[in-house]
Amino acid sequence: MARMNMIEAIRSALDVKLSQDPDVLIFGEDVGYFGGVFRCTAGLQEKHGLTRVFDTPISEGGIIGAAVGMAAYGLRPVVEIQFSDYIYPGYDQICSEAARLRYRSAGQFTAPLTIRTPVGGGIHGGQTHSQSPEALFTHIAGLKTIIPSNPYDAKGLLIKAIEDNDPVLFLEPKRLYNGLFDGDHNKPAVSWAGHELGEVPEGHYTVNFEKARLLEQGTDLTIIAYGTMVWVAQAAAKAAGINADILDLRSLIPLDLESITKSVNKTGRCLVLHEATRTSGFGAELIAEIQQHCFYALEAPIVRVTGWDTPYPHALEWEYFPGIERVQTAIQTIMEA
């Protein structure tokens, strides 16, 4: 088993699929010769050829629109949007086209494309390099939304996404690319090399969308998180000395509601985390479902700790980021309720 960070795991997934399936194509801004601004596609053009891994004009709508056409033809395009903050010019092609094609054509045409894009803050990227737009996609019928928290899952989920016959939005928490980050920005990032989830098979394997990962097991509290916030949850639970079920969702649509309700029905308390702005964030959806399915088990209001409802500021990045301290406070609030 190899040791990979998240960039290497993603690259490995792409490499495996490029090698296995001649219908897989990769394109996006700077992904070709250069290998992407985060290096996720480095070396792939050289290995697989110019027509399989290539640069595109700076046109997110064009990238996704062209991919819809290719996917309808029968190819499996995997496109990169350089930062998720720049996905909006392609929003119409995702929502009105990729997500709708199978339905409106009654299955005659489908759009099995994968859209990879980095999300989240923590790299001093400011308002336009830090966003977490998942909730803008989970509202769209016909689209799957995936977000891994570690190298092992990243590779397995990405291969699964490419093989999936529906359009998949694959969100990559950029702060986890190079190492595990638990929200403590004063401490150096922890290399994935030393983490069990940094052990990644070289070849083909998949991780299913339907099942959340139970990261920690406990009885006092259920913490639901995804992406970077999974590790913040773990650190905060430890700091709070609490015995929590920590669920790493991995997939938002489809959602593993069964594992969620099972856990909350057991613990009676629930904390929901995300980095995205709070209002109408995916946390709201989780809470709506949990309060419905676990109402009689709940001993305290479900609390959400999220990014604030402001743009992601540059200088005050760590005041914005829902870090360990805020999560810990929320844990206390819930446990004392």
Partner: protein, 411 residues
């Protein structure tokens, strides 16, 4: 260009005539004998400047052909084209009146624009994928889609292969190379470029053929298509149907100060042609030229089809609210059906009797087909579409949350 209107007010273009005015199009020069010549299809794109700004024509208004674009089709082919166009118009009329009778929610005619769809389809191979708008139903006639199927889609009844999911006229017929029409304008242009890229990637010589109205060229997707087609030399034909109107907005709103929609292709180094869209032979020739270019590795062609939308935008529209009632009649480029018919007459291959007989035959065919279709239900009759089907094909497999919702619905 010496006016100083921006010092005093914003300039807003207006069409020459509004209701109440007497339209006069004598300022539109009908090009004489010689339209821009037909260059070799592998010409450098910048060599098509004249073709992009002039007007390619074959048929004079009196039905005689001229110029080197004449595709010299045999009489049977010409008659076939005529039949498809007449059938299209017949279907349009029938469906329009059925909508008026409340049998369906909506309909859109292509009257006056039949040559564009029909000649395009006849110039293409069946394996070329078309990405149409709602005004290229003529392609379906030319490719032989059973009328009943078309009608069932419009009626959203039990015979609708799309399970009543879409409004009328948003057809999808993969087996005939007819891409699922989107209700969102423009989006399919770049998808067609992507499809063309896929054809090239797979090493086939199939091509993609997209259509947009002139109004929808203002969407970003049109430019994404020009750009991607240019960058990757995609084998795609990007057709702009300039029928002068976009609902109530005249073409000048989309065109601004530019004089040719075709010429937008030139800006991307793409071969560009501007064609008399009411001239069946010119459309046929232009599409043929573009297919040759694309199949031989020359990449994309942009074609503007200059035509006129003779009827309202849709059954929801009353065009006399924004243009003179007589404008369609005085539009100087004639009617595509009449023009092809008189060409055949000129050739001695057609006459009034045969024309009337064909019209009667097609009317009967349409009436018959409609009867069969209506027997499967209309929007007014209780729907026979299974409510459970609503949850299907959102995804390949029914996910848990949709299963729960279906259960909640009690089915």
């Amino acid at each position: 260009m010496t006016s100083k209107q921006n010092r005093s007010k914003l300039f807003v273009p207006e069409p020459p005539y509004r209701p109440g005015d007497t339209p006069d199009f004598s300022h539109i020069k009908i090009p004489a004998e010689h339209s821009p010549s037909r260059p070799d299809p592998m010409i450098d794109a910048y060599g098509t400047q004249e073709q992009a700004t002039g007007l390619i024509r074959v048929l004079k208004l009196d039905g005689t052909p001229c110029g080197d674009w004449d595709p010299k089709l045999d009489a049977d082919t010409l008659r076939e084209g005529l039949r498809h166009m007449m059938l299209t118009r017949c279907v349009d009329e029938r469906m329009f009146s059925m909508q008026r009778q409340g049998k369906m929610s909506f309909y859109m005619k292509s009257t006056g624009e039949e040559a564009i769809a029909v000649a395009s389809a006849m110039a293409l191979r069946p394996t070329d994928m078309v990405f149409p708008t709602y005004r290229q139903q003529g392609i379906l006639m030319a490719r032989g889609w059973p009328l009943k199927e078309l009608m069932c889609q419009c009626l959203s009844n039990a015979g609708d292969k799309l399970e009543g999911r879409s409004i009328p006229v948003l057809y999808s017929v993969r087996e005939l190379g007819f891409f699922s029409i989107s209700g969102n304008l423009g989006t399919q242009m770049i998808q067609a470029a992507g499809w063309g890229m896929a054809c090239a990637y797979k090493g086939t010589d199939d091509i993609a053929v997209a259509f947009t109205g002139e109004g929808a060229t203002a969407e970003g997707d049109f430019y994404y298509a020009l750009n991607f087609a240019s960058t990757y030399r995609a084998p795609v034909i990007l057709n702009v149907v300039n029928n002068q109107w976009a609902i109530s907005s005249f073409q000048g709103i989309a065109a601004g100060q530019s004089k040719s929609f075709a010429a937008r292709g030139l800006a991307f180094g793409l071969a560009s042609l501007r064609v008399d869209g009411n001239d069946f032979l010119a459309v046929y020739a232009a599409i043929k030229w573009a297919t040759e270019r694309a199949r031989n590795g020359g990449g994309a062609t942009v074609i503007e089809h200059f035509t006129y939308r003779k009827e309202g935008h849709s059954t929801s529209d009353d065009p006399t609210k924004y243009r003179p009632k007589s404008e369609p009649d005085v539009w100087p480029f004639g009617d595509p059906i009449d023009r092809l018919a008189s060409h055949l007459v000129t050739l001695g291959e057609w006459d009034k009797e045969r024309h009337d007989a064909l019209h009667t035959e097609l009317t009967a065919q349409v009436r018959e087909s409609y009867k069969e279709a209506e027997a499967l239900g209309t929007l007014a009759s209780p729907s026979k579409i299974d409510p459970a089907s609503m949850f299907e094909e959102v995804f390949e497999d029914l996910p848990a949350h949709l299963r729960r919702q279906r259960q909640e619905m009690g089915i």
